[in-house]
Amino acid sequence: MSYKQKIAARAAKTISTGMIINLGIGLPTLIPCYLDPMVRVMIHSENGVLGAGAAATHENAHPMQIDAGGGYITVNKGASFFDSATSFAIVRGGRLDIAFLGALEISERGDLANWIIPGKFAPGIGGGMELAQKARKLIVVTSHCTKKGLPKLIPQCTLPLTAKKCVDMIITELAVFEVVDDELILIEIARESSLDEIRKKTTARFKAAEGELPAF
């Protein structure tokens, strides 16, 4: 299992039947592979579909049926298609139970930065700002550190924000945190990791939940 798969598998456990979820581009799109088949969710993709199914194959890909990441998709029974204004009425109207997004930085009070590195990476915001600000629950799924090995969970974001105090949960390959009352609470530790390692790789202040922490 790669670190991405580990994160996706843990993220899948946050989802329960009846939920409406949105999966950001990249790592989040792996999450459905790890869903219990008994869990029935509806996947919203902001390009205008509710009820997205598995990725399409060369046999059943339809040129007019993609998700927001550009991949060809199937749809489940009960799906619907709609325009971009309706799609963001779903987002901003608070109809998404969970949105899963990646991160460049997360502050210790739950601010998220994930869309721009001024002067280096500025492809535009897409739907991320609205997803971050308005989903009922925002779960960040990300590697614990940057490619250079620097912590992503830091006291204050240095990059421009996607949204302030928007993150509800953070799932990395090392740990799971919840954000409660503007504080980071460590609630699970990866089997492969330890509190020590997490402390070393996290400059954001955090508390550990009481009792022995579950492993994942």
Binding site: D83, S84, L161
Partner: protein, 230 residues
């Protein structure tokens, strides 16, 4: 009022310097045939409004790469490294908006409203370039509506009066842009007589549409992009 016309005649109505909306999100819903004709028409100095810029060598990206576009008003550049480089070299100006905010700016333009009030982005750098007010006790952005000289629309089915139906994820920005431009040109795969569309299933009433061009569902322009299939 038969609004069908030739692609040549339709595209000849677009002039250099104009602001043009282009429907679609990725390939689906992008009016590929109209864009190809526009590419060949030689207009320049365009301001183009679209969700993104398609991928290199595809759709609207071809016009940007050809230097016909002065400014893009979009939500993101996606994976279009060619246009990102052009932006970095200042060969094309790019104005970004959050995706749903761009959608609603266009919807507002089509609805004859001046703008809307939103809390999206108030605590971010996008607020720095926008007008901020206090509204009902909270900080909010006044977002002006957006209209264009022309809109290029892709539809699955149209009748000759200009009623349009979209399919699958090819809705996206098309129904919004079809309301928000002074001149609306819609391409369609299927052209039917008036009465051929159930009035309950019309997505864009014909009043918004000026010209209909029937186009071929050419797999070179509209086919599945193999690199996006897992």
């Amino acid at each position: 009022m038969n609004k069908t016309t030739s692609i040549k005649k339709a595209v000849s109505l677009i002039q250099s310097g104009q602001t043009i909306m282009v429907g679609g999100f990725g390939n689906p819903g992008t009016p590929m045939t109209l864009l190809e004709a526009l590419l060949n028409s030689g207009v320049k100095d365009l301001v183009m409004i679209k969700n993104e810029v398609n991928e290199p060598g595809i759709g609207i990206s071809r016009l940007v790469e050809a230097g016909m576009v002065r400014k893009l008003i979009i939500s993101h550049l996606g994976l279009n490294s060619r246009v990102i480089e052009m932006m970095n070299r200042k060969e094309v100006e790019v104005e970004f908006h959050p995706q749903g905010i761009l959608a609603d700016k266009i919807r507002c333009g089509g609805a004859g409203l001046l703008g809307f009030i939103t809390d999206i982005g108030v605590d971010t750098i996008i607020a720095e370039t926008r007008e901020i007010i206090m509204f009902e006790g909270q900080k909010a952005i006044l977002e002006p509506s957006l209209r264009a000289d022309a809109a290029l629309i892709h539809s699955a089915t149209a009748d000759k009066l200009g009623n349009l139906c979209y399919t699958k994820t090819a809705f996206s920005f098309n129904p919004l842009m079809a309301q928000a431009a002074d001149l609306v040109i819609a391409e369609t795969f299927n052209l039917v007589e008036p009465g051929g569309i159930n009035p309950d299933h019309v997505h864009t009433p014909c009043v918004f549409v000026d010209h209909i061009v029937q186009v071929e569902n050419n797999q070179k322009l509209y086919g599945v992009l193999a690199h996006h299939v897992l």
